[in-house]
């Protein structure tokens, strides 16, 4: 223990997905910043950790990994006895229980992430980087996201969280992108859907997520 390192700026949505998981699991970690404005993510040293030059990268004494959702799954498997123990389904639930989480985690990655990532870039990061926004891209992706949230609205009328009655990795994976959309005050499509609004309120007020958000405003470690 004490050997977990995450590489990347905490404000990155994929990095903060991993940080949220580590917080839920009560696993200590060291965060090493990667200065993307200076192209550090494309340096030969960093490419040894993440050959696609993306963030995050992850290391513990047993593994070096990339892809935030794969890292989250590993943290849940490897540190099974720590912190929240039902992130991949309740223990003893078997393949079917885990499969429900995997189904909604795939839905997040394949249906929610693409349009919400565009919105996060357009609404939260482009202004910060001094880049012009693209109204057509915003409109198109808001429409796509609205259709996804319609599915969530129906699902969350049937169950408390996406995969069932317990908070899981499937819900957690949504936190970073949704957070930035809310912070940019473009959250009407969440707020106007009763079940989605209830679900968002519940997952975004978890202490583990608040700890991650606090890291956004802290100065990045050298």
């Amino acid at each position: 223990m004490g050997s977990v390192t995450v590489y990347g700026p905490p404000i990155s949505t994929a990095v903060s997905r991993v940080l949220a998981c580590l917080q839920e699991k009560d696993v200590d970690f060291k965060l090493v910043n990667v200065d993307m404005a200076k192209g550090q993510h494309k340096s030969p040293d960093y490419l040894k950790l993440q050959p696609f030059g993306q963030v995050p990268a992850f290391q513990d004494e047993h593994a070096t990994l990339f892809e935030s959702r794969a890292i989250c799954r590993y943290i849940c498997d490897k540190y099974a006895n720590r912190g929240n123990q039902s992130l991949l389904g309740r223990s003893g639930g078997g393949p079917a229980e885990r499969a429900q989480v995997e189904q909604w985690l795939e839905a997040e990655s394949q249906s929610f992430n693409p349009p919400s990532s565009v919105l996060v870039f357009q609404l939260a990061f482009a202004p910060r980087m001094g880049l012009p926004q693209d109204p057509a891209a915003i409109e198109l992706n808001q429409a796509k996201l609205a259709r996804v949230l319609d599915v969530y609205e129906r699902r969350l009328g049937e169950s408390r969280f996406l995969a069932g009655d317990e908070f899981s990795l499937a819900d957690l994976a949504h936190l970073p992108n949704a957070h930035h959309i809310f912070a940019a005050r473009k959250d009407d499509m969440f707020a106007s859907r009763k079940n989605v609004a209830r679900w968002w309120e519940e997952i975004s007020t978890r202490p583990s997520w608040k700890k991650v958000v606090d890291m956004y405003s802290a100065a990045p470690p050298a």
Partner: protein, 221 residues
């Protein structure tokens, strides 16, 4: 009761699921969902699959969508038979998950853009977006360079055994190679080329291709 797989047999995502079942020697019934007639967007189907996509599976009373969730489920449920598709330790599984996510998030969106514009639209008599296809081909070439580096170190993506991480790549890559003329992208990547030849020659994959060609509904190992 046999597993039921709903979808169109020529479609990439249902093929992923069927290939996994064939590898594991699990019989299944294939139930046609006529995508061309938009059956997947009709209310009766969307009762099962709220996003209106294929595949969807029923394993007795247990129902599931998202092909990569489905293959993880069957690989885990039938861990004791056929090839080990998920690794044996947490670290090995993590490598499988890592490359599965690379396929899902980086490889396939790029590959689909090419297949859509160079094959799926033209066979319907519609113009594909050549510019988009070319941009995606350049991107895919760079992605394959990273694959080449990995496959120079390990025989398969996640290690020295064939796993789900390799399996999920096969259906869309076959379209790229056989229907979009992109075999040449592998010519300067000897390890990636050897990997493709190996995985696409697997007996289970060949059995699946025969099953799809036959138009049969029931697969028995």
């Amino acid at each position: 009761m046999a597993v039921k797989v709903y979808g169109k047999p020529q479609a990439v995502c249902p093929q992923r699921v069927m290939h996994c079942l064939v590898e594991k020697g699990v019989p299944f019934e294939f139930v046609l969902v006529d995508i061309d007639a938009m059956e997947h967007k009709r209310p009766e189907y969307m009762e099962k699959h709220p996003f209106g996509q294929v595949p969807f599976i029923a394993d007795g009373d247990f129902e599931l969508f998202e092909s990569r969730a489905i293959v993880r489920y069957f690989a885990s449920k039938y861990a004791d038979r056929g090839p080990n598709l998920l690794g044996r330790t947490a670290e090995e599984r993590a490598k499988v998950e890592q490359w599965l996510d690379v396929e899902a998030i980086t490889y396939s969106p790029c590959a689909f853009s090419i297949v859509f514009n160079l094959f799926l639209l033209p066979i319907r008599g519609l113009p594909g977006n050549k510019g988009e296809a070319v941009a995606s081909m350049e991107k895919l070439d760079k992605i394959l360079e990273v694959y080449e580096k990995q496959l120079a170190r390990t025989k398969y993506l996640a290690g020295d055994e064939f796993t789900l991480a390799d399996l999920t790549h096969i259906p869309v890559t076959r379209y790229l190679v056989e229907h979009c003329g992109l075999a040449y992208l592998l010519d300067d990547k000897p390890h990636a080329k050897a990997w493709w030849e190996d995985v696409s020659s697997r007996p289970a994959w060949k059995k699946l291709m025969s099953f799809v060609a036959s138009g049969a509904s029931f697969y028995a190992p």
